[in-house]
Symmetry: C2
Subunit: 431 residues, 2 copies
C-alpha cells in the first residue's frame, strides 16, 4: 500500500507517505486553529459576487434541474417566487427548466446551506470570518420548523416568513452583532458540546447561547419593541437557530484545510438530495459523487420511510469539521430525535476516531473524559478500514412543497472515497 500512513510499512515509498502525513498534519493544524467569528448579516448579492446574476446557490455537488430531487425543486420554486422572478410555482418551474435560472453549489462560493441550501440574491446571510486565517464564509438564516424552504416547502406561509426574516430579523441581528463586535462561534460550540449538543442535529444549547449573546444588543438597538420581542422569540424557540452560523463556521474552518498538496483529508462532504459528494484537500476542486442514501431514522407522525428523500444538505460540513455525528458522544439526549441509544451515541464518536487524523483541541467531549472530538477524515483510513463517516441529519419529504418528515442517521457511499483514493494514486503515479 504505497499511500499507507505508516512509513514503516511502506519501505519503497516512504517519501510519499511522509509527504501525505505532513500535509495532513498541516491541514489538521489549519482546520483546528481556525477561529470563526460571526461578524454580521448581509444581503447575499452584496457579499457573494456569483449572486449578482439570476443564479441560485444550492446544497451539495453540482446539479441541474432535470436531476434535482423534489425538495430541491421545491426550494428553487420558492426562491424564484421570493426573488420576484416568477409569480407562481408553474412559472418558476418553467424558468428553471428552460435554463433561465443558473445553478451553482453553495460550496463553490464560500457558502453552505442546510437541506436544499437554496440561497438567492436577496436573501439575508450570516457573515462568518475566520479570524486566524482571514477567510469568510456565509450561510442563510434558519427558518425554524414546520413548512420551510430548506425542506422544499414554498407556500405563502414559507415566503412570508422569509420576508419577515429579511426585513425585520436580519437588520436587528446585524445591529446586535456589529454592536458586540461579533460572536465567537468556536467558543460557543465548545460550550455547547458541554451542554449536550453535537452541533448538527442538536443545537439547543448553542441556539440559547446565541440568544444570550444577541439579546442585550437587540434590545438596545432602538428598534420597535414588538419587532425585538418577535425576533427574540423566533431565535429562542428555534433550537436550530445557531445551526446556520455553525455551518458557516465549519465551512470557514474546512476551507483553510483545502487545496494542500499531498493532503488526503476530506475538506468537503455535501449532498444535493440526489448525489453525495466529497472533495479532497489535495485533489483540488474535483467532486467525487455517487447516489445519496436515504437516512435511517425516526419519522414524524403520519410519515414513514416511503416518504423520505435521499440525503440532502451542506450540513455535513459539521462532520467534516469534527462535530455533528463525530461529537455525538457529547449529546446522549439526541437519540430521542434521531433514533438509537445513548450507547450508540458514544460508539458513533469512538468509531470516528478510527478514520480521522486528530482530536480537536477546542471541541472536547465530557463523557469521554474531555477527549477532543475526532477531526480530519483521512480518505486512506476510510477505504482501508471500510468505515465511512457517520452523519446525523434531518429527513425531507421526497416531493416538492411538503417539508420535513423526520430525522436520522446516514453514511456516504463508500465508492466516493474509493474514487477519490484512486484519483489520488493516479495523480501521484501510483498504480
Amino acid at each position: 500500500m504505497s499511500l499507507d500512513h505508516d512509513p514503516a510499512q511502506t519501505p519503497g515509498n516512504d517519501t510519499l507517505g511522509q509527504k501525505i502525513d505532513a500535509a495532513n498534519q498541516t491541514a489538521l493544524e489549519r482546520m483546528t486553529s481556525a477561529r470563526p467569528v460571526l461578524k454580521s448579516v448581509a444581503i447575499a448579492r452584496d457579499v457573494i459576487p456569483a449572486l449578482q446574476e439570476r443564479r441560485l446557490l444550492h446544497a451539495g455537488p453540482p446539479i441541474d434541474w432535470p436531476r434535482m430531487s423534489g425538495p430541491m425543486r421545491g426550494a428553487v420554486i420558492g426562491a424564484a417566487i421570493f426573488e420576484g422572478w416568477a409569480k407562481d410555482a408553474e412559472s418558476a418551474e418553467a424558468m428553471a427548466k428552460s435554463g433561465e435560472i443558473d445553478f451553482a453549489p453553495c460550496h463553490h462560493h464560500q457558502t453552505v446551506g442546510p437541506m436544499a441550501g437554496v440561497t438567492s440574491p436577496s436573501m439575508a446571510v450570516y457573515v462568518v470570518e475566520n479570524e486566524t486565517h482571514g477567510n469568510l464564509a456565509y450561510s442563510n438564516l434558519n427558518e425554524g420548523y414546520g413548512k420551510v424552504l430548506r425542506y422544499g416547502a414554498y407556500s405563502s406561509e414559507v415566503l412570508d416568513r422569509l420576508r419577515w426574516m429579511n426585513q425585520t430579523m436580519a437588520p436587528l441581528v446585524r445591529k446586535a452583532l456589529e454592536s458586540s463586535g461579533g460572536l465567537d462561534v468556536r467558543t460557543l460550540l465548545a460550550e455547547a458540546l458541554h451542554m449536550g449538543d453535537e452541533g448538527h442535529n442538536r443545537n439547543k444549547a448553542g441556539s440559547l447561547l446565541m440568544l444570550k449573546a444577541l439579546a442585550p444588543g437587540l434590545t438596545a438597538s432602538g428598534a420597535e419593541p414588538a419587532d425585538i420581542s418577535e425576533t427574540l422569540a423566533f431565535i429562542g424557540d428555534t433550537a436550530l437557530s445557531v445551526l446556520n452560523p455553525v455551518m458557516a463556521a465549519c465551512k470557514a474552518m474546512a476551507d483553510v484545510a483545502h487545496g494542500i498538496e499531498h493532503c488526503t483529508l476530506v475538506s468537503t462532504m455535501a449532498r444535493n438530495g440526489t448525489d453525495f459528494g466529497i472533495r479532497i484537500s489535495g485533489l483540488g476542486d474535483r467532486w467525487f459523487t455517487a447516489p445519496a442514501a436515504t437516512p435511517d431514522g425516526l419519522y414524524f407522525t403520519g410519515f414513514s420511510a416511503d416518504d423520505a428523500n435521499p440525503d440532502i444538505g451542506d450540513s455535513t460540513i459539521t462532520e467534516t469539521a469534527g462535530i455533528g455525528a463525530f461529537a455525538m458522544a457529547a449529546a446522549p439526549a439526541i437519540v430521542s430525535f434521531v433514533s438509537g441509544s445513548p450507547q450508540d451515541a458514544l460508539h458513533s464518536t469512538l468509531e470516528m476516531y478510527e478514520i480521522t487524523v486528530g482530536e480537536h483541541p477546542h471541541f472536547t467531549i465530557p463523557p469521554l473524559d474531555f477527549r477532543g472530538s475526532p477531526v480530519g477524515i483521512d480518505v486512506r483510513k476510510v477505504v482501508e478500514l471500510g468505515i465511512t463517516p457517520r452523519v446525523n441529519t434531518g429527513i425531507a419529504h421526497r416531493e416538492a412543497g411538503i417539508g420535513q418528515v423526520g430525522a436520522g442517521l446516514v453514511r456516504p457511499p463508500m465508492e466516493i472515497f474509493e474514487q477519490a483514493l484512486t484519483a489520488f494514486a493516479e495523480l501521484h503515479d501510483i498504480g
Copy 2:
C-alpha cells in the same frame, strides 16, 4: 430490624414496615407529581407574613447570632444595611448581637435561599406555585458572581446590586412572568438535565432556558430599553440565574412530602454554615443537626481549604428533590468546577439509587439510558447502608465580607440520620 423496608425480613412487625413503605410511596408520589410553576416576583414582606417584623430569614436549621459563621454574619450585616436598619457594619453587628433583629430559618416560612440564604423584608423574591397541590414557595433573586451577599460580602457594590435587582430587574421579571402565565420549572429542569445541568451547581442550560422564556415578554414590557437590555445581560451572564427559582420549585415539591405519618423520607436538608440539619416527613418539624463538614473541592486562585467555611445553604433542597448531586450523571462537564472525573459524576447518581425509594418520572438522565433520577431519601437506607446523601455545593470564605472561594462536594454527617432513625423508633415504641 423492625423498621426494615422489606416486610419479609420482619415477621414480627410487618404492620409497621408496611405502613412505612406505604407512607413513603405516598410521599414519593406527592413529591414527584408536584408541578412547580414560577408565577411572579414579589416583595418578601408582602408574601411572607414573618417578614412583616424586623426579622431575617436564613439558610439551614435555626441559629442565633453567637453561633453564626462568618459568611452568615456578613450576610446579616449586609441585609441590615440594605433594610436601612443600620448605617454600617458595626451598628448592624451591634443590633444583631443585642437581639434587635429576629432570626428564623427560611424553611420555616416556605422559603429557601442559597448559601447564607438571608432574606429580608424588602427583598424581591420569586413566587413558585405547585400547581398540583396548590402550595407556594419563595426564594430570593440570584446576585450573580463575585462579591455577593449570599457568600457573606456586604460592600457597597453588593448593596448597590441588590438595590438594582429590587428596583429594576424584579419589576421587569414580574411583568414578563405575569404576561406569560408563568414558567413551568419542572419542564425547564427536565430539559436542563438533558443539556448537561444537574440543577444545583450547574444551571447553565436552565438559566438560558429562563432567559429564553423571559426575553420576549421583557422586551414587550414597555420599560426603558436600557433597563431591559441590562436585565437580559444580567440573567444571561449568570449561569446560576435559575438556581433560586429551581430551589423554590424543589421546596414546593419537598413540602408536600412532609408531615406524612410513618414516612421515613428526608423532606429537608439544609445547612446554616455551622450545622447541617435534616427533617423527616413522619417526624414533624423537629430538626436533627450536627456540625457541618467542610466541602472537598476546587478553589479559586489565591484561596485554599484553609479559607473555607463549613457547608452552608438551603440549596441541598435540590438533592432532597432528586436533582443536584443526585442527577450528577447528567452533568459530566460539572467536574471541571467541583472536582472529580466524569466517571465520578456517574457514580454519584448510581450510589444515590441505593438510599432512595424511587426514580423521578420527569427528571431523566440521558447517559443512564434516560433512567429517572434517584429521589426520596429513606433515612432507614442511609443508616443501614452507611451511605449519606451526596451534595454539590459552592464554598464560602469563613470570614464575613469576603465571598465565594470555590466549589466542591460534601456529605451531611451520618449522626443526624442516626438521631432521626432513633427518634422515629422511639415515636413508634420500638427500642
